[in-house]
C-alpha cells in the first residue's frame, strides 16, 4: 500500500508519544513498540527480549533499556499484542497502557471497576454502621423514659456498639484525614474525623472515667453528675443546653450505684458516620452517572471488523488491530468498525449516535463512513482511513473528557473558597467550643461546647461547593455530545449562554454548499418528470456540478435513465445527446440561441428565476423547447426552522456571505433572516464579527472550521460546523458533528440550561454553608433559640452533596433539537 505509507507513519509517530506504535512491514509481519516498566539494568532488558522472542509468532524482539521500550516484529496470524503483553508480564515486567493503547474504553472500564469496588466497600461499611447505630440512637432518643435503659452499664453497651462503627465503618475518614494532615491540608475527612472523633473520645472518657469528666464540668455538686435519664436527654435534646431544663428532675439523681453519670454522645459519633456513609454512597452512585455519556459513546464501538485480505479471504480482526488501508466488509445491520471511505456497494447508515440527526445517510463508493455508526439494509466494503485514537469516535470521547475538566469562570469564587474552606471551618469549630464554654451555664458548659463544636464540623460541606460546577459541566457536555454538539468546556458553556447575536455563514451552513434543483418548468406537451428524466439521462454522462444536481433530483424522484448516444459537452454552453431516438439539448440561453430553439416565453421565466439568484438551464427536444430547470445552492431543510428557534431564544440572527447582495437577500428572505452582511471577503469576516462586538454584542459565529477559522476565533463563541469527520477544530469553542443549524440551537439552549443548574448549585451550596455553619455553632440561639443537634447536622450534610449532584443529573434529560421537540 505505497500510497498510504506516509500517512501511516505520521499517525504512528503521534501514537508513539502516548502509547504504542504499530507499523506494517509486509503483509504478513507487524511491528509493535511496547513501553516496558520495571527494568533496572541491561540484564532485565535481555530477559524481556528472551521472553518475547520465545513467544510463538514473534520474528524479532529488541528491547532498549535506555528508552524502556521493546520493538517486536510478529506475525499477526499467530499472535497478537495481548499475548506479547502476557509474555512481558510472564518474565516479571509490565507494559502499562500497551493494550489500553488505542482505546479509551479500557481506561473507562477500569475506572468503572474501581468505582464499583468503592461503592461495594461503602455499602458494607454503611450496613455495619446502620445496624449498630440504630440501637444507640434508640437508647439516646429514649431520654431516660424507658426504664429498661436505666441501668449502670448502659453507657458501656453504647460504647461496645459504637466502637466497631468508629473503627471499621469510619476508618476511611480517619485515614483520609491523617493523609491530608500530612500534606498540611484539610478536607471533608478532616472535618468528619475531628467531629466524630471528639464526640467518641469524650464519650469513652465519660464512660470509663466519669469522675474525670464530671470534675471538668463544674464544682457544683448538683449539676456535676446526672441520671441516666438526663445523660441522653442532653444529647438529643437541644433544650438540654439551658440551665432551666437542667434543674429539672434529673439533676438531683446524680449517680447510680455510686458512679456519677455524665452525658455521653456515642450516637453522635455512630449515627453521623452512618449518615455520611449513606450520603457518600448515594453521591458515588450519582457521580458515576455523570460520566454516562462517555461510557455510552465508548459502548458504541464495534469490537471486531471483518477484513477482506488481498487474496479475497475474510478475517475477523479486533478493532484495535485494524490498520489504515485495511478493506473492511460491513454487512446489513452491523456497526461500522472504524472510519473510512466506501470502495464498493451502497447502503444507508444511521449516524444519529454521533450526529444526533435522526435520518439515515445514503453511502456509496467514495463516501466517508464513520466508525460506531450503524449500517442499514445494504452491504458495502470500505477502506479504513483512520484507526484507533484517530477515529472520530475516539476524538469525540477525548474532547468530551477534556471539556469535562475545564473550569467555568463562574466557579472561580467557589474554587477559591473550597481551597480555604476546611481550615476555616476548623477555626470556627474551635471558636464555637471556646465561646460556648465561656457563656453556657457552668453545669452544662462542657456538653454544650462539645455538641456545638461537633455540629459545626459535621454540617460544613465543602463537597457541595466543589461539586456544584464540575458535575453540571460534565453532564451538560456529555448530553451535548450525545446530540452531536461538542462543547469545549465550562468556559465555552458559560460564554455561549450569554450570546446575543448569532452570525451564520451562508454557504455550507444555511445552505448545502452545493447546487440543487429548485424549479422545474415544463413546456406544453411535457410533464415535469419526463423533462427531468430526459435531462438527467443526458447529464448523467457529464461531470458538471449543475448536471449532477439534475441527476440527483431524478434519482430522488425514482426516475429511470435511458441510454444515450452521441454525447457531446460544449464547455460554457451545455450538453447534448441522443436518447430514445430524440435529440436532447441541455444548456444555457446562448446554446439555445445558437441551436435556433424558439423559447416560447421561457426566456422571461428564466429572467425572473435569475433575479432570485438561480441558475437556469434550458432543455430542448428535437429543436423544440421542452422546459427549463433552475438550480441554486440549496437551503438545508432544517435551516428555516432552526433560525426561527434561535429567534425564539431571543437571539439576533445575522447572515454573512461572500455572495452578492441579491443572492444573499434571496436566501435570507427564504430562511427568515433580516440582517445580511453580503459581499464579505473571506479575510473580512473576522472584521465584521469585530464590528458587531463593537456594538456591544456578545457574538457567536457559525461557520466551517477552515475558511472561517479567523472569524470563529474572533467571535466570543466560535461554532464550527463539522463535516462529520473533522472534529478537533482549534478555533472553535463548540463543534457540531453534523452540519445542521439545529446543533446551534441545541448548543445555546443547552448552555443556558447548564448555567442555570450551575447557578442553582452554587447558590444552594453557598447558602447551605453560610446558614448551616452559624446555625450549627448556635449563633441563632441567643435570639431565636435555634440550635442543631449533631445528628441532624450530619443528615443535612449527607443530603447537601447528594442534592447538588442530583440537580446536575437533571441535565441528562435535556431535550436537544428544536426547543424541546425532538424526533428521536
Amino acid at each position: 500500500m505505497p500510497a498510504t505509507t506516509e500517512n501511516e507513519t505520521s499517525d504512528g509517530v503521534r501514537a508513539a508519544e502516548t502509547r504504542r506504535v504499530e507499523l506494517p512491514i509486509t503483509g504478513e509481519t507487524r511491528r509493535v513498540e511496547l513501553p516496558i516498566t520495571g527494568m533496572t539494568c541491561a540484564a532485565c532488558a535481555r530477559r524481556v527480549e528472551r521472553g518475547l522472542s520465545k513467544t510463538p509468532g514473534v520474528g524479532a524482539a529488541n528491547v532498549n533499556f535506555a528508552t524502556a521500550r521493546a520493538t517486536v516484529e510478529y506475525d499477526p496470524r499467530r499472535t497478537d499484542v495481548q499475548r506479547l503483553v502476557e509474555a512481558v508480564e510472564g518474565v516479571g515486567y509490565g507494559t502499562p497502557g500497551a493494550l489500553a493503547g488505542d482505546d479509551a474504553r479500557a481506561a473507562v472500564e477500569q475506572e468503572e471497576a474501581a468505582r464499583r469496588a468503592e461503592r461495594r466497600d461503602l455499602a458494607r461499611r454503611f450496613t455495619v454502621a446502620a445496624v449498630l447505630s440504630l440501637p444507640v440512637l434508640i437508647i439516646a432518643m429514649s431520654h431516660g423514659r424507658v426504664a429498661l435503659f436505666n441501668v449502670w452499664w448502659i453507657n458501656w453497651l453504647q460504647l461496645a456498639l459504637t466502637a466497631p462503627v468508629v473503627f471499621y465503618s469510619g476508618a476511611p475518614f480517619y485515614s483520609g484525614a491523617w493523609a491530608a494532615l500530612r500534606h498540611r491540608a484539610a478536607d471533608m475527612n478532616t472535618l468528619i474525623a475531628t467531629g466524630t472523633g471528639a464526640a467518641f473520645v469524650y464519650s469513652v472518657v465519660a464512660t470509663v472515667a466519669p469522675r474525670l469528666v464530671a470534675a471538668g464540668e463544674t464544682t457544683d455538686a448538683g449539676g456535676m453528675t446526672m441520671s441516666g435519664a438526663m445523660t441522653n436527654g442532653m444529647t438529643t435534646n437541644g433544650a438540654a443546653m439551658s440551665g432551666a431544663v437542667m434543674s429539672g428532675a434529673g439533676a438531683n439523681a446524680a449517680s447510680m450505684n455510686g458512679v456519677p453519670m455524665v452525658p455521653v454522645y456515642f450516637e453522635a459519633a455512630s449515627v453521623i458516620i452512618a449518615l455520611i456513609l449513606l450520603g457518600r454512597l448515594l453521591e458515588a452512585r450519582a457521580r458515576g452517572r455523570t460520566t454516562d455519556a462517555i461510557k455510552k459513546l465508548l459502548g458504541l464501538q464495534a469490537r471486531t471488523a471483518r477484513v477482506v485480505r488481498a487474496d479475497g479471504r475474510h478475517e475477523d480482526v479486533p478493532v484495535e488491530d485494524l490498520m489504515v488501508g485495511d478493506v473492511i466488509l460491513v454487512r446489513p445491520g452491523e456497526k461500522i468498525p472504524t472510519d473510512g471511505v466506501v470502495t464498493e456497494g451502497r447502503s444507508s447508515v444511521d449516524e444519529s449516535m454521533l450526529t444526533g440527526e435522526g435520518l439515515p445517510v445514503e453511502k456509496k463508493a467514495g463516501d466517508e463512513v464513520v466508525g460506531a455508526t450503524v449500517n442499514g439494509a445494504g452491504s458495502f466494503q470500505f477502506r479504513a482511513t483512520r484507526v484507533g485514537r484517530d477515529t472520530v469516535l475516539q476524538q469525540i470521547v477525548r474532547m468530551v473528557e477534556e471539556a469535562q475538566g475545564r473550569r467555568a469562570p463562574i466557579a472561580r469564587l467557589a474554587d477559591v473558597v473550597s481551597g480555604y474552606f476546611t481550615p476555616v471551618v476548623i477555626l470556627v469549630a474551635v471558636l464555637t467550643f471556646v465561646v460556648w464554654f465561656a457563656v453556657a451555664p457552668a453545669d452544662v458548659r462542657l456538653a454544650a461546647a462539645l455538641v456545638h463544636m461537633v455540629s459545626v464540623l459535621i454540617i460544613a460541606c465543602p463537597c457541595a461547593l466543589g461539586l456544584a460546577t464540575p458535575t453540571a459541566v460534565m453532564v451538560g457536555t456529555g448530553r451535548g455530545a450525545e446530540s452531536g454538539v461538542l462543547i469545549r468546556g465550562g468556559e465555552a458553556l458559560e460564554t455561549a449562554h450569554k450570546v446575543q447575536t448569532v452570525v451564520l455563514d451562508k454557504t455550507g451552513t444555511i445552505t448545502e454548499g452545493r447546487p440543487g434543483v429548485t424549479d422545474i418548468v415544463a413546456a406544453d406537451g411535457f410533464d415535469e418528470d419526463e423533462l427531468l428524466r430526459l435531462a438527467a439521462s443526458v447529464e448523467r454522462a457529464s461531470e458538471h456540478p449543475l448536471g449532477e444536481s439534475i441527476v440527483r433530483r431524478a434519482q430522488e424522484r425514482g426516475l429511470s435513465f435511458s441510454r444515450v448516444e452521441n454525447f457531446r459537452a460544449l464547455a460554457g454552453h451545455g450538453v447534448e445527446a441522443e436518447t430514445e431516438g430524440r435529440r436532447v439539448t441541455v444548456g444555457n440561453l446562448r446554446m439555445m440561441e445558437e441551436r435556433g430553439v424558439h423559447l416560447d416565453g421561457m426566456g422571461e421565466r428564466a429572467a425572473s428565476l435569475a433575479s432570485e439568484a438561480k441558475t437556469t438551464m434550458f432543455v430542448s427536444v428535437d429543436g423544440r423547447a421542452a422546459g427549463l430547470v433552475a438550480v441554486a445552492d440549496e437551503i438545508k431543510p432544517e435551516s428555516r426552522e432552526a433560525i426561527a428557534a434561535l429567534k425564539r431564544l431571543g437571539l439576533e440572527v445575522v447572515m454573512m456571505t461572500g455572495d452578492n447582495l441579491r443572492t444573499a437577500e434571496t436566501v435570507a428572505r427564504a430562511v427568515g433572516v433580516e440582517r445580511v452582511l453580503a459581499e464579505v471577503l473571506p479575510e473580512g469576516k473576522a472584521v465584521e464579527v469585530k464590528k458587531l462586538q463593537a456594538e456591544g454584542k456578545i457574538v457567536a459565529m457559525v461557520g466551517d472550521g477552515i475558511n472561517d477559522a479567523p472569524a470563529l476565533a474572533q467571535a466570543d463563541v466560535g461554532i464550527a460546523v463539522g463535516t462529520g469527520t473533522d472534529i478537533a477544530v482549534e478555533a472553535a469553542s463548540i463543534t457540531l458533528v453534523r452540519g445542521s443549524l439545529r446543533g446551534v440551537v441545541t448548543a445555546i439552549a443547552l448552555s443556558r440550561e447548564t448555567m442555570r443548574v450551575i447557578k442553582q448549585n452554587l447558590f444552594w451550596a453557598f447558602v447551605y454553608n453560610t446558614l448551616g455553619i452559624p446555625l450549627a455553632a448556635g449563633a441563632f440561639y441567643p435570639l431565636l433559640g435555634w440550635t442543631l443537634k449533631p445528628v441532624y447536622a450530619s443528615a443535612a450534610m449527607a443530603l447537601s452533596s447528594v442534592s447538588v449532584v442530583t440537580n446536575s443529573l437533571r441535565l441528562r434529560r435535556f431535550k436537544a433539537g428544536l426547543m424541546g421537540r425532538r424526533e428521536r
Binding site: E111, A117, A179, A180, R182, G405, S418, I426, L431
Partner: protein
Amino acid sequence: MDAAAIFVLVSGVLLIGFVVWFFFMGEGERGEARADESGVQKIRVTVKAGYTPDVIVLKKGVPVELDFYRDEAAGCSERVVFPDFGISRSLPAFETTPVRFTPEREGEFTFTCGMSMLRGKLVVEA
C-alpha cells in the same frame, strides 16, 4: 470566670494560632523534576488525599511528564486539572497516568483536583 474557663480560652486561642500556622503558612514537600536522556523532565506524583510532592520545580521550555499515581479510590482525586495549561485528566485509581506539556512561561502555577480541594504548585524556573 473560673480556672477551667480560662484554661479553655487560652488553649482555644493557641489552637487557633496553630491551625492558622499549620494550614496556611506551611510549605509542602518540594520535588524537583529531572530531565532524563531523552530531554524530558519526569517526576512521579503520588495522589492520596493530596499530591506528594505538591511543589514541583520545573525548567522552562523543556517538555514535562508528570506521572500521577493515584493511590486511592476516594472520589475527590479522580481528576487533576492544570488550569493555566488547559489540561484536565482523569486519573484511574491505582494507576499511573502521564500528563505531558511544555511550560513556556516562568512563574508559579497551581494544579488542583476536579473540585479544587487538593492543591499542588508548579514552579517554572528559567
